[in-house]
Amino acid sequence: MTVGAQAVNPSTAPVGTAGHTSTNLGDILERVLDRGLVIVGDIRVSLLDIELLTIKLRLLVASVDTARELGIDWWEHDPWLTSSARPSIEDGPAARRPSRAVGGERTALPEAAAEAEFDG
């Protein structure tokens, strides 16, 4: 049984998306790595390692080159993603707050993340 992504309103069909029936890797990654039961086993990869890797790997799942071609490279400047990044002048403090809805917390909509994606 596959978990297909179904575009509900094709009149606003996404740019560059072909209808596909195989499960989107991003959808699997966020569930398998970020949700589900946290069972601390004997073999430990530190959670901080995993958190950083999860973030990094999400970016790698799609072609980063493709993203850059489209002018999307905001992650290179987002301090939430890379500790070495410096906030740029035009970003207000609100834009730097990540949404906190990992693993089930109810929280506000991801205004911060949406704002962080594009320069004005």
Binding site: N24, L25, V40, A62, E69
Partner: protein, 268 residues
């Protein structure tokens, strides 16, 4: 002579009274046969994995190697789906690796209460995911400063500079307005979907670079439904879509309830 393999135990999920026999055709992350470990009235579905690849160093390498990571997570998910067809299953997060079965038994005993409650919470239920995207307006090309009308002395006319700034402000506020509309629609959609579901969760949006997508992901929600209510939920999403015309909506599912294994206070 080959070194004997040092094996660990990879945990896929936990349920109650799961029989491994129907899982004979399913392979685990190391290509291994699936089996079960029982303790405290619970059953963990596990597989024996080579610690060369699935111990700490091996895992760290794999998590950094995208093709290997993809193979591991897809297989882990496939196993959970297979087990879910046999009975309510609480998916384990990756990675969960033990030195031996005794470690798994201890885990089941120590967390018996939490696990039993989680199994109960997912029993007869499925998760559906709804993602919604807003479309940012095209970014107008910035005015070419060389084409700004200038005075005879060559300095830019103040009126033109002002016009340029006004243009930029208008573009920024059009963008802000579009984003505000998309977020408002996403919030309304999430509220409506929560009312149609047993429980709902709001998640961090996936990064735009994930799909090379230029759209704003303004909603990444999960909704818990009784199995028999899934058809109605799909119909609800389809019915609500036209009233959120600024959003592109994607529905995924059914998922084993990854997002609902932890209790959240005051959850809808």
């Amino acid at each position: 002579m080959a070194e004997p393999k040092h094996l660990g135990v990879w945990v896929y999920g936990v349920g109650v009274d799961i029989d491994a026999a129907p899982l004979a055709g399913t392979r685990g992350v190391d290509g291994e046969t699936l089996r079960t470990v029982d303790a405290a009235g619970l059953t963990a579905v596990v597989g024996s994995v080579d610690l060369e690849s699935f111990g700490e160093d091996g895992l760290r390498r794999s998590l950094n190697d995208l093709p290997r990571l993809e193979a591991i997570v897809r297989t882990h998910h496939d196993v959970i789906q297979a087990v879910s067809r046999l009975g309510p299953t609480v998916p384990a997060r990756v990675p969960a690796v033990y030195d031996d079965d005794a470690g798994v038994e201890t885990m089941l005993e120590e967390h018996r209460q939490t696990l039993a409650e989680a199994v109960d919470r997912v029993d007869g239920r499925q998760e559906w995911g709804v993602k919604a995207y807003g479309q940012p307006p095209p970014v107008p090309a910035p005015a070419d400063p060389r084409r700004v009308p200038r005075t005879a002395a060559g300095s830019p006319r103040p009126a033109s500079g002002t016009a340029y700034l006004q243009q930029r402000r208008a573009a920024v506020s059009a963008r802000d307005e579009t984003r505000r509309t998309a977020l408002a629609e996403a919030e309304a959609l999430h509220s409506q979907l929560c009312r149609s579901a047993m429980a709902c969760r709001l998640h961090r949006p996936q990064h735009a670079a994930l799909t090379g997508d230029t759209r704003w992901m303004v909603l990444n929600g999960s909704y818990l439904l009784d199995d028999e209510r899934s058809g109605a939920f799909r119909a609800t999403v389809t019915r609500l879509a036209p009233s959120h015309a600024h959003l592109a909506i994607e529905l995924t599912g059914p998922w084993p309830p990854y997002s609902f294994v932890d209790p959240v206070e005051g959850a809808a």
